[in-house]
Amino acid sequence: MSITIEKNKLEHKTGFRTEEMVLNMGPQHPSTHGVLRLELELEGEIITNAIPHIGYLHRCFEKHAEAMNYSQVIPYTDRMDYLASMYNEFGYAIAVEKLLGIQVPERVEYIRVIMGELQRIASHLVALGTYAVDIGAFTPFLFCFRDREKILSLFEQTCGARLLYNYIWVGGLSHDLHPDFVNQTNEFIKYFRPKIKELNDLLTKNKIFIDRTANVGVLPLDVAINYGISGPNLRGSGFKWDIRKNDSYSVYNKFDFDIPVGEGLMGKVGDCWDRYYVRILEMEESLKIIEQAVNNLPEGDVASAIPKRIKPPVGQVYSRVENPRGELGYFIISDGSINPFRVKVKGPSFVHLGVLNEILKGHMIADVIAILGSIDIVLGEVDR
């Protein structure tokens, strides 16, 4: 709810002089999910202006990428959005494959989709769990991390790493699936479906949670598009837009799934609760995709299309995928050598943080945490 106070009236009534206060939130604040500093200009408890200061984790990934060859860049992409590493590799591999003009075997595409969707669930679980902690509910956080652990074990058994995988390579994968993977994934799907309901009972329909999030931080659709918002945040504002469907890549067009959008069930369309609930619904859709993919897995060699030497022709490509947070775009220019000439990453978190000031204006200071948590940023990607 936005509130505006007429300053002069207040001064007249109380006899006290009022003045604007500047409050620093961060860089080390638990609810900023990393190192982000917000400079909040306050009129009493009302925010009049919020200036984000970023760059605390800046290591200039783009400069590093220019000094390495195409396959050496992949571990660096892992470290941008460290909660969705699989998807970062996925997007990068697709971009370079477009430059090279190669097709990858169908089995590789299927495994990439499975990994990507598992990663989406894992990432959403962190987003939802930490959001609950920010709002003040500790239990859902533990539930979410318990379930995420199961996905991380699947990843660990597949490629040996739990967070930063280096699994999806240009043209293929580093390892094939282990023999028990299909079984274990099916078991996970069976296990996880009821857990979404559990989370709904525990948090989604909780009165206190709804009071804190419904009608708070409303992001109107036209503002969202103008600011380049994508992913669950855009869908939370009621726009049916998903790159997996609207600009389909890999083998997503073979699967049957819906795009959930915010409907304003608890308040206005585009409020924090809507953004939160879209993520819950998306996990269900991801399960659908994984179920279809894992049970129709084609046979094949996952390393057959990996090029011995990656040397794309002179050219440029902008390629984008639907990361758990939104549109992750890679703009790569090749000058014909083995190193990329320029790699620019359009990270969804970076873009979403830009709209923060627009949403925060007029809100109470306690809502900052509810709003910042609902747009779900990862600072590793904001700063790159």
């Binding site: 800046h58 200039c60 103008n226 902008y318 703009f331 620019k344």
Partner: protein
């Protein structure tokens, strides 16, 4: 849905030949080259025209073309003089589902490009990033400050190809 060629024809009819050029020599992506000072006018037209409706800026990236005269510095690093810096705009229409790439090139010695921030607010931070890392000046940008690097960074623009790692930061020696 329109192709780059069709969009180019519409633009040419409205703006004339002087500030536009269609480049199709690249294998993956074709793009339209635009005069850097006129870019915002072209973008505003692309957004408002009924047939085009480019309501979304997908990405904005600055690039150092490194096409100037190259010479070696005393310490062996490269110096580039002359040549151009470029900015790429990737636009999309969420209503009509077409995409287009625009490119502007500006002189390295005086890199000035009109800001498209007033057309898409999304460009705000991306332009700040291009300024921060490449030193491209966006004219009429309301808040052109450094964004990722420290505000007091004096060693230049890191993504330029002739960037030198500074030995000192604020008088402190930086070990590598």
């Amino acid at each position: 849905m329109k192709t780059t060629e069709e969009i180019f024809t519409i633009l040419k009819n409205n703006f004339g030949d002087a500030m536009l050029e269609l480049v199709t020599s690249q294998p993956v992506e074709h793009f339209i080259k635009v005069n850097p000072i006129e870019i915002n006018k072209v973008c505003l037209f692309l957004r408002e025209n009924e047939e085009l409706l480019f309501d979304s800026l997908m990405n904005l990236s600055g690039v150092d073309d490194a096409n100037g005269k190259k010479s070696a510095d005393t310490d062996g690093t490269q110096i580039i003089s002359g040549g151009t810096l470029s900015v790429f705009y990737h636009l999309e229409s969420t209503k009509l589902h077409h995409k287009i790439t625009l490119k502007v090139s500006t002189e390295r010695e005086k890199p000035e490009v009109a800001s498209v921030e007033s057309t898409w607010r999304h460009a705000d931070w991306h332009e700040r990033e291009a300024y921060d890392l490449l030193g491209i000046i966006f004219l009429n940008h309301p808040d052109l400050r450094r964004i990722l690097m420290p505000y007091d960074w004096e060693a230049g623009y890191p993504l330029r190809k002739d960037y030198k790692n500074p030995e000192f930061y604020l008088g402190m020696k930086v070990p590598y």
